[in-house]
Subunit: 161 residues, 2 copies
Amino acid sequence: MLGIGKLSAATGTKVPTIRYYEEIGLLPEPERTSGNQRRYAPAQVDRLRFIRHCRDLGFPLADIRALLDLGDDPDRSCESADTIARHQLAEVERRLASLASLRQELCRMIDQCAGGTVADCRVIETLADHANCISDRHGHPDRRDASGRPRAPDTTGSTAA
Amino acid sequence: MLGIGKLSAATGTKVPTIRYYEEIGLLPEPERTSGNQRRYAPAQVDRLRFIRHCRDLGFPLADIRALLDLGDDPDRSCESADTIARHQLAEVERRLASLASLRQELCRMIDQCAGGTVADCRVIETLADHANCISDRHGHPDRRDASGRPRAPDTTGSTAA
DNA sequence: GATGGGATCTCTAGTAACTAGAGCTTCAAG
DNA sequence: CTTGAAGCTCTAGTTACTAGAGATCCCATC
C-alpha cells in the first residue's frame, strides 16, 4: 500500500495526473486512510505504467481505456487490440510523412534566409505565400486535437519553435 | 470587401475559427455593415492565409503572432523570424525522431501478435511492460500541449488509432 | 416591395489531457 | 509533540478550436 507520491515516483506520473485519471475512471478509486489519503495496491502501479506507456506511444486515452477493458478479460480475442495498434501505427506513419514534408519546407525557407531585413527575408515571404509550398496541404497529420502526440514532461520551457 | 463566408472560402478557414482569431487579436476587427456583419478588406485574405500556412507548418499561435509583428515592420532584421523558423525545424526533427522510434515499437508489437486470445497477445503484453521498450522514453516529442502539430480538418472521424 | 432561406450574429459550453494554485488537513520523522 | 512535507478538494487555466442555440440580416427572386 503506497501513497500517491510513491505511485507518482514509481510510474513517472505527476500527482495531479493520477488524480485526473481516477476522476475520468481510468484508475479505480483506491482505498483511503482514516485521514482520507489514497493508498494504492501494487497492482495499480502496473495499471498506471500501462497507461503511461500507451500515452508515450501516442494512444489517446479513449483507446487506452479500450485496451484496459480488453486486458480485464484475458479470454477474449486480441483482435481489437491488434486493430487499435494497427490504427495507431497508421497514424504514426501519417504523421511521419507529414513531418518529413514540413521539414523539407522549413529547411528550404531557412536556407534561403540571407539574414537581411524582414523585407527581403525568405522565411517571412515563404510563409506569406502558400503557393510556394512543396506540398499543397502538408498532409494534415492528425485531427484529434490536444493530444495525439506523446505527452511530455513540460520541463523544456521553450516557447517551442 | 467580402463577408466572413467568402473569407472562409478564400482561405480554407472555418468561419468560427476566423472569429476566434479576431477574438484573440490575430486578425484586426474588420469593418461592419449597418447590420453588424463583418466586411473584410482584401489584405485580410493575405493575413489569414499567412496564419493558416504557419499553422499547417506546426507553428503555435504565439509564434505566428511574433511573425506577424515582424512583418508589420519590414525594416527590422529578420533574425527573429529565422530563429523562430529554426526552432520550429528543431521541433519537427525531434518529433520525427520520436515517431520513428514509436513506429518501430508498434511494428514489433503487431508482428508478434499471433491472433489468439488476449492472454497471449503480444500487443497487450508489450504495452503492459515498458521494460521491453526499444527506447526507454520515446524521446518526449514535445511539451507544448494541445497543439504543436498541424491542426487538421477533423473530417477523418477516426478514433485515431 | 415583399418574402424566404441561407448567411451571420453573439454567447455559452465542450473538447483533450492535463497543469497550477489556493487554502486546508494529515502523516511521519525527529 | 511538533513541524514541515505531502496530501486533500476545488476552481480555473491552457491550446486551438468546434458545436449549438436562438436571434438577426442580406440578397435574390417574384
